[in-house]
């Protein structure tokens, strides 16, 4: 667990390093893979989050067990979005799509959807997850978890978009994968 947390934070910290257009890296110790994109001043970084880590993080916030168990069943990524230009950049997570085998399309489960479910259970927590949509001015950035209803280890292609100065940009990351189930230790 300690190693997993250390490695996860190390991957997040590495985001500050200048990036080329597209990179994929994998931590040899803990295993989480990271995808990094930097296109037209829009920087996106996605780090696999396994169910154990998700469970630990949400449980540590004092959320009820059923809420924690439900969200930790989702395919989760630590997601960092940055504006690397001087002009405002916007993203809208509801427009992003995930394509699995056979061309089946999936949407992200949004922060607003989670909050609605949690509110119905009397839980007022509204942090940790990346906002559905945001506009970033120069220097702005944000990190948070994003969730997709896919199984551990499932592979997919991600189509995402962002806009700047009235123009919408699209990009695709092929061969992404949800965090696999952590193998049982002997």
């Amino acid at each position: 667990m300690t190693r997993t947390i250390l490695c996860f934070f190390s991957l997040l910290m590495a985001s500050c390093i200048a990036m080329s257009a597209e990179q994929r890296s994998k931590n040899p110790d803990s295993g989480p893979s990271k995808w990094t994109m930097n296109e037209q001043g829009f920087s996106l970084e996605l780090v696999q989050v396994n169910a154990d880590y998700a469970r630990a993080v949400f449980f540590a916030r004092g959320l009820p067990t059923d809420v924690v168990e439900e969200i930790s069943r989702y395919c989760m990524f630590g997601t960092i979005v940055k504006n690397r230009t001087k002009s405002p950049v916007s993203y809208r997570l509801p427009e992003w799509r995930v394509r699995t085998g056979g061309g089946v399309e999936h949407k992200f489960k949004l922060k607003s959807e989670w909050i609605k479910e949690w509110s119905a259970k009397g839980v007022g927590f509204r942090w940790l997850l990346l906002a559905d949509a945001q506009t970033f001015d120069e220097g702005d950035w944000m990190q948070g978890f994003t969730t997709i209803a896919l199984k551990p280890g499932e592979k997919f292609d991600l189509s995402y978009s962002w806009s700047r100065e009235g123009k919408t940009y699209n990009h695709e990351i092929k061969g992404m994968q949800c965090a696999p189930v952590k193998p049982a230790t002997p």
Binding site: M13, C16, A60, R61, G62, W127, D137, G139
Partner: protein, 183 residues
């Protein structure tokens, strides 16, 4: 709150996570990006919503009481690595502007005094500015905060003049100059 009782079961994990944060802060300071001091100036200053919150000593703070001073409001949480990374720079700025008509308020989200107090003990630089508690996140919602950290700089009339989404190096001379220009 019924959820609070669950928090005590996670003391070990919490200590583990918080113990790692100073390591992160050191590395992150070395990797500061070129834009990490940029603030967004609002085209038209907006009146900030008033609030009434308690600090670590259970003293009450209202925003209104700081009218006539420049106020930096920082929304944060102990679980948020960039919040922790920018904390030393906030403290540096706070100490540098001590004695000036300037107030810094770090408004914690969702957590309680016990947790934050425990957390402070793990930091290399312990903040000396007021830490306020917004346990139900109503104040952050009123400010329109979508994620942590988020910061707002208010002029002497209590209007939001600058904002920053995501972590910043508040010790940067450009930020200090912007604040001083509001005195």
């Amino acid at each position: 709150m019924r959820l609070l009782s669950l928090r005590h079961h996670n003391r070990y994990l919490f200590l583990l996570l918080t113990a790692l944060l100073p390591i992160n802060a050191t590395a992150a300071e070395q990797q500061a990006s070129i834009n990490d001091y940029k603030l967004t100036q609002l085209a038209k200053p907006m009146p900030a919503p008033d609030f009434k919150l308690l600090d670590m000593d259970e003293d009450t703070h209202t925003l209104k009481q700081y009218r006539g001073k420049v106020v930096l409001i920082n929304f944060w949480g102990t679980w948020c690595p960039p919040c922790i990374r920018e904390m030393p720079s906030l403290e540096k700025l706070y100490l540098k502007l001590k004695g000036k008509p300037f107030v810094m308020l770090a408004i914690n989200q969702w957590e309680d005094e016990e947790r934050v107090f425990e957390f402070m003990g793990q930091l290399k630089t312990i903040p000396t500015f007021p830490i306020l508690f917004d346990p139900d996140s109503k104040v952050s919602a009123a400010f329109g905060v979508k994620g942590l950290p988020s910061s707002y700089i208010l002029d002497k009339q209590g209007r939001v003049v600058y904002r920053a989404t995501g972590g910043r190096d508040f010790a940067h001379p450009e930020i200090e100059a912007k604040i001083k220009s509001l005195f």
